[in-house]
């Protein structure tokens, strides 16, 4: 697979504050990296540095073998970057804005019109074609930004919290679109706070904190990273039982026990046989179990396991 993005030793400073001390990342065609981490972790900063929009104190970024430097359009024009606050000309209509983008990328008039049709269709904006951008809702603006980013057919796509303003149906649609972009051989980085569905379309996950990549790997690696054969269990009781704590506390191999009224969660072996035995033992102990479920592939758990505090 061809390498699309190679970032080495990237260092970004804001005055005396070091936002990214030493950031390395390599992505190949067909990779989709989900970038997660608390507010202020440096997700936006690393995306901007990769896109060459902010100066780096050290390091280098190559896109398709071209060095990303100010004014090097050969590299820059292959990067599609959708910032978290979408830039646009509010006074323009949707189609004029996209035409402007087509011109700026020398797409050619007919091709531009074709792609405008395609992306407006894909992003459910066709009926807003002639609206002024200022009349769009937040989610629509976000979709327009995605359309703007994808219209020039970039090789590397950077999306900074693209799903934040989308409605539920839009999110489903968006996931499918990301999947097909990934399969079409683009390299993508998506930063997101919505972890629930990331594992469905990401090939890789990066967990950032304090400017450093705390964990990086394929989805499977991350989800099972720390304790291979353990997973989280969710148990719901029919009614509150005071002795539940004592009973669960006795069981060997059970950890991180948390009881909130009728809701119980803990970590235990990730193994069907072990789960069946555990359930039998709890029932025998007289717990009125209404629901008992091991939680598979939970990115959220993997994330919380890293011990990163949510707000700095």
């Amino acid at each position: 697979m061809s390498i699309v993005l190679a970032a080495e030793h990237v260092r970004v400073e804001y005055g005396s504050f070091v936002a990214l001390p030493d950031f390395d990342l390599t992505l190949s065609a067909g990779n989709l990296l989900g970038l997660i981490g608390p507010n202020g972790a440096g997700k936006t900063t690393s995306l901007k540095a990769i896109a060459g929009l902010i100066p780096m104190a050290a390091g280098r970024v190559n896109v398709l073998g071209e060095r990303v430097t100010p004014g090097n359009t050969a590299a820059l024009s292959r990067i599609g970057f959708a910032p978290d606050t979408p830039p646009s000309y509010d006074e323009m209509t949707v189609e004029d804005f996209l035409r402007f983008i087509g011109r700026a990328y020398r797409v050619g008039r007919e091709m531009t019109e074709e792609r405008i049709d395609y992306w407006l269709e894909q992003l459910w904006l066709s009926d807003r074609r002639t609206s002024k951008i200022k009349a769009l809702s937040r989610g629509m603006k976000q979709r327009l930004t995605v359309a703007r980013t994808l219209l020039p057919d970039p090789a590397l796509v950077l999306l900074d919290e693209p799903a934040a303003g989308l409605d539920p149906a839009g999110r489903v649609q968006f996931r499918k679109m990301l999947g097909s972009l990934r399969d079409s051989g683009k390299a993508l980085i998506v930063s997101s706070h919505i972890l629930a569905d990331l594992h469905e379309y990401c090939t890789h996950i990066g967990i950032m904190e304090g400017g450093k990549m705390r964990q990086f790997g394929t989805v499977a690696q991350i989800v099972h990273s720390q304790e291979e054969n353990r997973c989280l269990y969710d148990v719901t009781l029919a009614r509150m039982v005071p002795e539940a704590h004592a009973l669960l506390g006795e069981i060997t191999g059970l950890s991180k026990l948390d009881i909130q009224g009728r809701q119980i969660s803990f970590e235990f072996e990730h193994d069907d046989e072990a789960a069946a035995q555990l359930l039998a033992r709890l029932l025998a102990g007289g717990l009125p179990i209404a629901r008992f479920a091991p939680v598979d592939h939970d990115l959220e758990q993997a994330y919380l396991r890293t011990g990163i505090k949510q707000v700095d």
Binding site: E8, H9, R11, G15, S16, A51, G52, L53, P55, A57, A58, G59, R60, P70, G71, T73, L76, S77, I79, G80, F81, P83, T85, P87, S88, Y89, D90, E91, M92, D96, F100, I101, R103, A104, Y105, R106, R148, P152
Partner: protein, 493 residues
């Protein structure tokens, strides 16, 4: 440089759409033409009893040329400033930077897009003025100059100059600074003719425009030689081109220096050329507003030194910045393999060679009368002292800038501080001391060493008849330079 037709320029097209496109532009031009016609008609009917049609037309012509200047300078530059400011506040500038547009395309877009309505109005004005001058019967000889077409070409050059300067300044300040203020002040100064103190500047500011207009109103006619139109247009276009190249570079990212490398030297060389040419090409006739002192060659050469020194700061500052950045990067970046940039001392020498070399080359034999006769110095000595002070002040500044850049300080305030502390304060202190201790003799007595320890004071002492200890002043300056260079060499970052 992409040779795209202007209409295909993406930013130009985008700005044109944002201003309402063809419909709005043509509508505006039509409405303006209609309003102008109606107003002219009504005014003429009201004044018919008192003035002849010819007189009325020439008055109206004057008025429309004023309007035209205002449209180009005020509305045009303001439109460019607003367009660039909007791109920064909405962050569309990042969107542009990631596109396939080169800096040249973008800069050209900012020059042509936001100003399209100005151009449309100018076209209407040109038609109106052509008709008016036909009625006024202005033809032949010198009045060709005020014949509308040439006048519009002249104003077009001025507009290109103002617009490219605005584009550059707006890109340097994220759209915060407007150059209209500077143009108003300079226009005012040129009206007062004080601007002739700096002959090079007078070339760039078309103050001859004002003279021409007033000669249209009165019967006194300037001679064509008084008005270096072509030289002035060349000066404006050459500077505009430099600004355009700088803007194209500055566009690519905020931290990129606009005049880095050769372009900074080109700017200095061009300014030196204009400064030199200014001496022979601008008129030397004093007037009420501009008494003899402004036309005094001794004063003019001092002003020229000061101005050239200020412009020379640009390449020197860029060289110090490059060396500071190189050192910082080298310390932090394991992959960094660029060669160490040349020392800023070298850039000082190149800059001085360009600035003063070209100035004196252009002046030729004309340099002698610019330096007043002194008892204790011959002409060549005076020049040598002036040049030494020029080198020393740039070296000193370079050293301080090197320290400032290493500390990551913003240098704007440092430059202001330096000019106040090293250039103005010693002269002011010298005058104040004299005024306190010996008020009676303040006008007759020569100045002290304090005065010449400022480079400006030294230039004044060398070029005018004022007596002051030049060599001692130079020694003080050299002392400060050594201090500054020592500080800079201790800076490891």
């Amino acid at each position: 440089m992409a040779a795209e037709p202007i209409i295909l320029n993406p930013i130009g097209w985008g700005q044109f759409r944002l201003l309402g496109g063809w419909k709005r532009t043509l509508g505006l031009a039509g409405a303006y033409a209609g309003a102008a016609f109606v107003i002219l008609l009504l005014l003429y009917r009201a004044m018919r009893a008192d003035v002849t049609l010819q007189r009325f037309a020439s008055g109206a012509l004057f008025f429309f040329i004023l309007i035209q200047t205002a449209i180009l300078v005020f509305i045009g530059t303001n439109a460019i400033k607003r367009a660039i400011q909007r791109d920064f506040t909405t962050d569309m500038i990042s969107s542009h930077r990631l596109s396939a547009m080169s800096g040249y395309t973008a800069a050209l877009g900012y020059l042509t897009g936001p100003t399209c309505q100005c151009v449309a109005l100018s076209f209407v004005n040109w038609i109106i003025c052509t008709i008016l001058s036909g009625i006024a019967g202005l033809t032949g000889g010198f009045s060709d100059l005020v014949g509308p077409s040439l006048m519009f070409v002249v104003m077009g050059c001025m507009a290109i100059f103002a617009w490219s300067f605005q584009t550059l300044m707006a890109l340097c300040t994220r759209g915060r600074i407007s150059v209209v203020g500077a143009f108003v002040v300079l226009g005012f100064l040129s009206n007062l003719e004080t601007v002739w103190t700096l002959p090079g500047l007078a070339l760039v500011i078309p103050s001859y425009l004002v003279r021409t207009l007033s000669s249209l109103q009165s019967s006194t006619r300037a001679t064509a030689q008084d008005i270096p139109v072509l030289t002035s247009m060349f000066a404006q276009l050459a500077l505009s081109f430099t600004f355009f190249l700088a803007a194209a570079r500055k566009y690519t990212r905020d931290d990129v220096a606009a005049f880095a490398g050769p372009l900074g030297y080109c700017l200095v060389a061009l300014c030196a050329l204009l400064a030199g040419v200014g001496f022979s090409r601008v008129p030397q006739t004093p007037s009420f507003f501009a008494p003899r002192i402004f036309y005094n060659g001794n004063v003019q050469i001092v002003a020229t030194f000061v101005a050239l020194a200020m412009i020379s700061v640009i390449p020197v500052a860029n060289a110090t910045r490059a060396s500071a950045e190189w050192a910082r990067r080298k310390a932090k970046d394991p992959l960094f393999d660029k060669r160490r940039p040349r020392s800023f001392v070298e850039s000082v020498l190149v800059t001085v060679l360009l600035a003063l070399g070209i100035l004196f080359l252009v002046l030729g034999k004309e340099w002698r009368p610019l330096f007043a006769d002194h008892d204790d110095m011959v002409g060549r000595e005076q020049v040598a002292y002036c040049v030494t002070a020029f080198v020393l002040t740039l070296l000193t500044l370079g050293g301080f800038l090197r320290v400032a850049y290493a500390g990551g300080t913003k240098i704007g305030w440092l430059l202001v501080l330096y000019v106040i502390a090293a250039w103005c304060l010693p002269m002011f202190a010298d005058f104040s001391l004299d005024a306190l201790t010996n008020p009676a003799a303040i006008t007759e007595s020569g100045r002290s060493m304090l005065f010449t320890s400022s480079p400006v004071g030294l230039w004044v002492a060398c070029c005018t008849e004022l007596e002051a200890p030049v060599v001692q002043g130079l020694l003080v300056q050299a002392g400060i330079t050594v201090l500054s260079l020592a500080l800079a060499s201790r800076t490891r970052r």
